[in-house]
């Protein structure tokens, strides 16, 4: 891409603190590609997955507190036994599946794609001299290409993470509902 040299008086004009010095001569593709807001989404998914894991930890601990009463009711008789068994089974399955999805959200993943000089894994594969040399000799067009590869990869990772998280949240809701009913029944048993 041939970018015309800016007039000298424009180069000498003052720039504001938030302004990239070359902005007036930056092409629109580069303006968007280099500022596509993607970095904040993977940590956001991880935070939510961590909250699910923490909440399930608290729920298991609280249920364990009622271990004796729970065993009594599970080995009891009649409707109570079947209701408790169904709820306990539903909670265990949903909780374990939700936990699995939360861990899948957190697990690092690097989909296969063309190497990019914007990705840490590909940077680290080069020697320091090679990396510095390659970036210093890169053209604007090549730099744009590198960041586009990176953006597409990160967007794919985000979609994958949020897909697992979405499943985890849905399962967690069901697990929470079963847990709440279990706790109500256990408390009623303890009190009456």
């Amino acid at each position: 891409m041939n970018v015309p040299e800016p007039p000298v008086e424009e180069l000498a004009s003052p720039t504001l603190p938030d302004q990239v010095a070359t902005f007036r001569h930056l092409d629109p593709a580069a303006a968007l590609a280099f500022r596509t807001p993607l970095q904040e989404h993977p940590p956001a998914a991880d935070t939510k997955a961590a909250a699910i894991i923490t909440a399930l930890g608290i729920m298991f601990t609280m249920l364990a507190k009622y271990g004796t009463h729970l065993m009594e009711m599970l080995t009891g008789r009649g409707l109570e036994k079947f209701l408790l068994t169904a709820l306990f089974f539903a909670f265990s399955v949903m909780a374990v599946l939700s936990l699995l999805q939360a861990f899948r959200t957190i697990s690092p993943r690097f989909p296969r794609s063309s190497p990019s000089l914007a990705f840490f894994g590909d940077i680290a594969r080069l020697s320091r001299e090679e990396y510095v040399g390659r970036v210093r000799s890169i053209s604007h067009e090549q730099a744009l290409e590198e960041i586009l590869i990176y953006n597409h990869n990160l967007a794919t990772i985000c979609v994958e993470k949020f897909r697992h998280l979405g499943k985890g949240v849905r399962l967690f809701r069901w697990a929470f509902g079963s847990w709440l009913l279990l706790m109500v029944l256990l408390n009623l048993k303890v009190l009456f």
């Binding site: 593709a29 993607l38 923490t54 597409h152 949240v169």
Partner: protein
């Protein structure tokens, strides 16, 4: 000041540098802290489960009524407060028109098509993509903070009732 493009440079500068990205994670952190606080309060209540149970099954009807009058609203507040915090944490980004700044729209294209679309952008469309993203993130932040504020309201009332309950358990056991 107009730049070399159709969109004024001021608009482009504001679109690319509007500080909206940090607010959803900020609301997420607050929601996580609230969930942790609710979890801690419930765990402490469970430590005192045995004396609470003894009071509720005890011979003093006024003590049973008093405990029930605190326990019932406390349970409701804990549940609704946790629900608000959980909803704040899991709120999705509101839908937006096709934008090359939004990750599901990027991931929905093949790498080749994405490259082609970005390279075919003019400043107006690039800035519009950013503005759509900014707007959706701003509305998401408002929704998240509204839920966090509700959860904080519940947490305040929960904390007062929780303290009262613990004092009563210590005095009446």
């Amino acid at each position: 000041m107009a730049g070399t493009m159709g969109t004024p440079a001021g608009a482009a500068r504001l679109a690319y540098f509007t500080p909206v990205r940090e607010y959803p994670p900020l609301a997420d952190r607050k929601a996580s802290v609230l969930l942790a606080a609710y979890g801690l309060m419930v765990t402490v209540l469970f430590v005192f489960a045995a004396p609470t149970e003894a009071i509720l099954l005890g011979p003093r009807p006024w003590a049973v009524l008093l405990m029930a009058a605190i326990l019932l609203p406390l349970s409701g507040l804990i549940l609704s407060g946790s629900w608000f915090a959980f909803r704040a944490l899991t709120r999705p980004i509101p839908p937006m028109p096709e934008s090359l700044a939004f990750y599901p729209h990027i991931a929905g294209l093949s790498p080749e098509l994405y490259r082609e679309r970005v390279k075919g952008l003019d400043h107006d469309r690039a800035v519009t993509a950013m503005l759509h993203y900014n707007y959706s993130l701003a509305t998401l932040s408002v929704e998240k903070f509204r839920l966090v504020e509700r959860s904080i309201g519940c947490a305040r009332a929960t904390f007062e009732l929780w303290m009262l309950l613990l004092m009563l358990v210590l005095l009446l056991r």
